[in-house]
């Protein structure tokens, strides 16, 4: 009991900050990834070069990246958010790109043959058909971002990572768990919410197919 008396308020604030980092960076990452994925799927010949480059980027440890950004941008939330957004991009980008390329040619030909413009084909046929794959990418990004957001505390910007760092530094298991368990719960809740979103976004006709 005494733990919550001591840390309860801070824990709630940390949870809120953590959630804020996750949501903003995932939303930003999603928008960028979706647009980039669509663009790359229009020019698969360039995508063959661009995608591997981006995936190399992905292997830079978050701790390094956030550190570098910190040097340039300083100790502001934007540092954390842009770092997390960059990491959130890749899973969504990759799934958007492959999801769009996996749309069977017959549908695209049928759409063309029916007199759909390329934009109509994209919005009415390709994106709906790629939506299961895109949502899967979104879910991966979200779950990763919840854990990556722990790094925010490294540059003193709060979030649940704070508890974990302090816990590790002071060898206090209770504090480590106080940071770890809520972030696990956050990941679970967010992924359940994405399931709800999937139900709303993925067209009924293809739900049973995949």
């Amino acid at each position: 009991m005494s733990f919550f008396e001591t840390y309860g308020d801070r824990l709630i604030t940390a949870f809120q900050i953590h959630l804020f980092y996750v949501l903003t960076s995932v939303v930003i990452g999603f928008v960028i990834a979706l647009l980039l994925g669509i663009l790359l799927s229009r020019v698969p010949q360039y995508a063959k070069v661009v995608m591997p480059l981006l995936s190399v980027f992905q292997t830079i440890p978050g701790i390094v990246f956030i550190g570098i950004l910190f040097l340039y941008l300083g100790m502001i939330p934007a540092t954390v958010i842009s770092a997390l957004a960059v990491y959130a991009i890749f899973p969504i980008l990759k799934n958007t790109y492959t999801g769009l390329l996996d749309v069977k040619k017959e549908y695209i030909e049928a759409a063309k043959g029916c007199g759909m413009t390329p934009l109509q084909t994209l919005i009415e046929v390709e994106l709906p058909l790629a939506s299961p794959s895109i949502i899967t990418g979104l879910r991966m990004s979200t779950i990763y971002t919840v854990s990556w957001a722990v790094l925010a505390a490294m540059i003193g910007l709060g979030g649940l990572g704070e508890f974990i760092y302090i816990g590790i530094a002071s060898n206090n298991d209770q504090l480590i768990l106080a940071g770890a368990i809520p972030s696990a719960i956050m990941a679970i809740i967010l992924s359940l919410l994405i399931d709800v979103l999937r139900r709303a976004v993925v067209p009924k006709g293809i739900r049973s197919v995949k």
Binding site: E109, A110, A111, P203, V209
Partner: protein
């Protein structure tokens, strides 16, 4: 309606369309056929600009199509593909409404069109309109594929092997339906297939292509009578071979070479006849030429005397089969009855011929390897 003028198309070094010139009249059902790689699909797809020729002009409705916005052009030309390509994320009604929606028809109108079209192919609007393509069978899906092409009542419909992926029974049904639709709606239809039977059944005109050129453009009757090249003849023969064996009837297998006699013929004459033809039975006819039965040499011996007429002997009621009966049923009878042959009767009960095990084998060899006689 559709005119090709000196149309050429190359992919790399291979010539796909070689100076193509032809004309399709309004309301015609034209079938493009030929071996794979002959350019039939390329020809079809250049009509709605899915493929752009390197040279030459294509006119649709008097307009040179390279001058027309391709999106607008395609909305006036129905298009059906082999893979069906119904959008799985849309309901049947939404699929049918794809083109009308783009042409800004209102919702009620689209609903009416959907209902009317579905009625034409005997699919209930209530049952199917709000289903998704994955809930329909292949045949039903392609029906909808055809309806989608017809929805905005385009004057021209292009079909690229639309029934190629369907089983033979469904294909036959859909062929009938498309023939009816064509009769009813008077569309200009350009239809690609590699199935000569399909071409012969459906076409007003068949365009036979090889190496990007037209070898022959003719009505089915003309092509059957005077195939312009050995390849066309070959195509026809193969298609005869593939002719639905299900549709063969007793008529295809009978031997008309049957010895039959009237009841009033004397027994002596009958035995002579049998001896001369090396046969041991005769088919007996009533006076009105209808079938009465069969008398064998054994029956005559049993009868004892050679005076009198054959009608005195009670004829054996041999197994018979109607001339329009399915061939397989006739064979089953032949094997299960133990009789030496099946007597095939015309509709008026007169004798058309008999099916023996030999005539059956010959006819089968005929179907398989061409003319054996």
């Amino acid at each position: 309606m559709i005119r090709f003028e000196n149309v050429n198309k190359k992919y790399g070094n291979s010539v796909i369309l070689d100076d193509l010139n032809f004309n399709i009249e309004a309301g015609e059902f034209v079938v493009l056929i030929g071996p794979s790689g002959c350019g039939k699909t390329t020809t079809l797809k250049s009509i709605n600009r899915l493929i752009k020729p390197d040279q030459g002009k294509i006119f649709v409705n008097g307009q040179e199509i390279s001058q027309v916005n391709p999106v607008k052009l395609r909305r006036k030309i129905g298009y059906v593909i082999q893979q069906i390509g119904l959008f799985p994320n849309m309901t049947i009604e939404q699929n049918i409404g794809v083109v009308p929606k783009r042409l800004k028809y209102d919702k009620k109108e689209i609903q009416k069109i959907t209902r009317d079209l579905m009625e034409m192919v005997d699919m209930s609007y209530e049952e199917y309109a709000h289903k998704y393509p994955s809930e329909l069978s292949g045949g039903q899906q392609q029906r909808i594929g055809v309806l989608r092409a017809l929805a905005a009542s385009p004057p021209i419909v292009l079909m690229d092997e639309p029934f190629g992926a369907l089983d033979p029974m469904t294909r036959a049904t859909l062929q009938k339906e498309i023939a009816n639709l064509h009769k009813k709606l008077k569309k200009t239809i350009v239809f690609v297939t590699h199935d000569m039977n399909e071409a012969l059944d459906l076409a007003d005109k068949i365009v036979f292509m090889e190496h990007g050129k037209i070898v022959q453009m003719a009505t089915p009757e003309e092509m059957l009578a005077n195939p312009a090249s050995p390849l066309i003849r070959d195509f026809m023969r193969k298609s005869a071979l593939a002719a639905d064996t299900l549709n063969l009837t007793a008529a295809d297998f009978l031997s008309a070479n049957v010895i039959s006699v009237q009841k009033k013929k004397s027994i002596r004459e009958c035995t002579d006849l049998m001896a001369r033809h090396h046969i041991d039975s005769l088919v007996i006819k009533n006076e009105d030429q209808t079938y009465a039965g069969v008398v064998t040499i054994k029956d005559i011996k049993k009868h004892g005397k050679s005076s009198g007429v054959i009608g005195e002997i009670e004829p054996y009621q041999n197994i018979t089969s109607d001339i329009l009966e399915n061939a397989k049923d006739s064979f089953d009878k032949l094997y299960s009855s133990g009789d030496n042959y099946v007597v095939v009767l015309n509709n008026d009960q007169t004798i058309a011929g008999i099916i023996t095990k030999t005539s059956m084998a010959t006819a089968m060899a005929d179907t398989l390897w061409g003319d054996m006689q």
